[in-house]
Assembly symmetry: C2
Homo-oligomer: 357 residues x 2
């Protein structure tokens, strides 16, 4: 008999909810027979959808939520709404009913609610948002993508530990390499917190995997499996990379439709070009994860489709099944002594909530 | 009779100096008949090269320099070398012999030497490094690319003013739009210095051109003509974008060589693909510029070829001919009152020298 894992799912978050959410769960239910979904949303809207997706229906328990947190709602307002689908889904994780939550809703609201209701893991100062992207040498994990716009050395060290476990759990790597994003690879580059974090990581149990400082171009080159940075730079790097890929995609489309010969050329090269497009498909990288919380929290892109939402569920299942948070706890215990010193040096202000979109 | 403009050129900086430098000047001399070059380097090496490039020779005055600043030399060490080719070229600008300097040498050394010897323009707190990159809507100017890893509101405002003048001078735009790079477009995003800078820019003479906050993907989309950011994020964004373009370029090469059909497809689509490659050619964007100094300072990429170095000379000539620094002075005068308040609020620490590679 196999273990059953329950995920709470916000049926109402995202641009195409609840239709895409239910259709995504139909795909996910087939991929993960061991998964059950506590689906939270407006039953009047969701029930008819479930009837059309019997595979999703079989794996779902429906729970009503009267309110929805809009995409533009500020975190403060989101915290006041006790009957929102996102809030009730998060409550289910805090109450132990579900091992994790998946939503395509408002990122800032999710981060604020998760921090307050699910709370951070013991020993974690700030949760971080992690994501996966493509590189010349395979998938790369990057964090923080925007949860903390200012980070101190302790935060960066914790992100590295969490990124290490994430790369092992979700990418299945043994001994993933770790890089600290900086403006140059030399040891004297960057500010004090980067240099302190590098020193601690070198001395820690991930020392043998620690590559040192890396630069922006190393992300696409896949120099390391894990890219650690503050939430401001990480958010900008992620979106700049996405923007550059989109630019090239648009330009290639123009090239291949510019003449009859070019169209023919496209048809001949199509199998390879299609594979490339598939490999770079943003849906394959859907599912930013909030790490450092007492439960698995996965944020799907708001504009994704059913396949993309199913991928976000894949990520949540990987983390739940492979006991992500227990591995984090072990990693933290191993750096506890090293990071005590850093905690004392911490700036008064501390990192701020960015709620990056 | 047309005016003659003199640029000091470091013959010894970069990976392929002095060969590529002299070959680049041969191209530049033809494009800019009004240019004269004070070429500084080891005469024993440079003279024979000039003999092989009569067009360069006709435009050059050779000045001997006994030393070379290596790529790995730290700025402190570079400052001690009084007989380096870079130093003598910079001295020529400080002494009024040349209107600007072009070098493919060590960026950190150049920034340190330029700040100390050429000095910043009156009213400028920190010089910034600006560069030009491709976007869906034409060329985009971005600054700072790494001169200052921490920036306050006053720095960001000054970068915006300098970026505006740079876009007018080098890209030939009238009323370029300006964006402040942030983790979200909403007004409450980012830290205090970003929000303060946005307020000042809105109230300033560039207010009508100021688009507000932009995100990483807006760089490639060309949402604004000028992208203003601190040197840490700017350096990472630039290199991440370059890395993403390189990744796609490599993958496309693989696709087009993966089968006979794909090769044929490439040949059919080739005219368009070649135009795309040309348009994205890093040499077309060669020539990062140090803005805010009492003279024009252009840094060519160290690994560039003759065509790329000639492009860096193009940028320097554009700035000299179009009286870049006089325009900056006017822009600064117009925001003087607005930015006085910011100067007082400045953090004690202030920005630090990053010497990004």
């Amino acid at each position: 008999m196999s273990t059953i894992y329950t995920l709470a799912v916000d049926a109402m978050g995202g641009d195409h909810a609840p239709g895409v959410i239910v259709a995504g769960l139909a795909i996910a239910a087939e991929r993960h027979p061991e998964a059950r979904f506590l689906l939270v949303g407006d039953t009047a809207l969701v029930e008819p959808l479930l009837e059309r997706h019997p595979k999703a229906e079989a794996a779902c328990t429906l729970r009503h939520a009267a309110e929805v947190i809009g995409n533009d709602m500020k975190p403060i307002a989101a915290l006041r709404s006790r009957d929102s689908s996102m809030r009730i889904a998060i409550d289910a994780v805090a109450g132990g009913e579900a091992a994790g939550v998946v939503t395509a809703g408002n990122t800032g609201a999710l981060l604020a609610l998760a921090k307050i209701i699910i709370k951070t893991l013991p020993g974690i100062d700030r949760p971080a948002i992690a994501g996966i992207g493509p590189s010349a040498r395979g998938d790369v994990v990057m964090l923080d993508l925007g949860a903390n716009i200012i980070c101190d050395a302790r935060n960066l060290v914790e992100f590295a530990i969490m990124g290490d476990v994430f790369a092992r759990t979700v990418l299945g790597l043994t001994g993933p390499t770790i890089g600290l994003l900086n403006v140059g690879a030399e040891e004297q580059k960057g500010d004090e917190s980067l240099r302190q974090a590098a020193d601690v990581l070198k001395a820690s149990h991930v020392g043998p995997q620690f590559h040192g400082f890396i630069e922006g171009h190393d992300i696409g080159a896949g120099t390391t499996d894990v890219v650690v940075t503050d939430g401001f730079s990480g958010n900008i790097a992620m979106k700049t990379g996405e923007g550059a890929l989109r630019l090239i995609g648009d330009l290639l489309r123009q090239v291949f439709s510019s003449s009859l010969m070019a169209r023919l050329g496209y048809l001949l090269a199509r199998p390879g070009l299609d594979r490339l497009r598939e490999w770079l498909d943003p849906r394959r990288y859907n599912g930013a994860v909030m790490l450092g919380l007492n439960g698995v929290v996965v944020k799907s892109h708001g504009g994704t489709d059913a396949e993309g939402f199913a991928h976000a569920v894949d990520v949540a299942m990987d983390m739940v099944v492979h006991r992500f948070n227990e591995n984090i706890r072990e990693g933290l215990a191993r750096i506890a002594e090293l990071s005590t010193g850093l905690a004392k040096d911490k700036d008064e202000g501390g990192p701020r909530l960015a709620t990056a979109g």
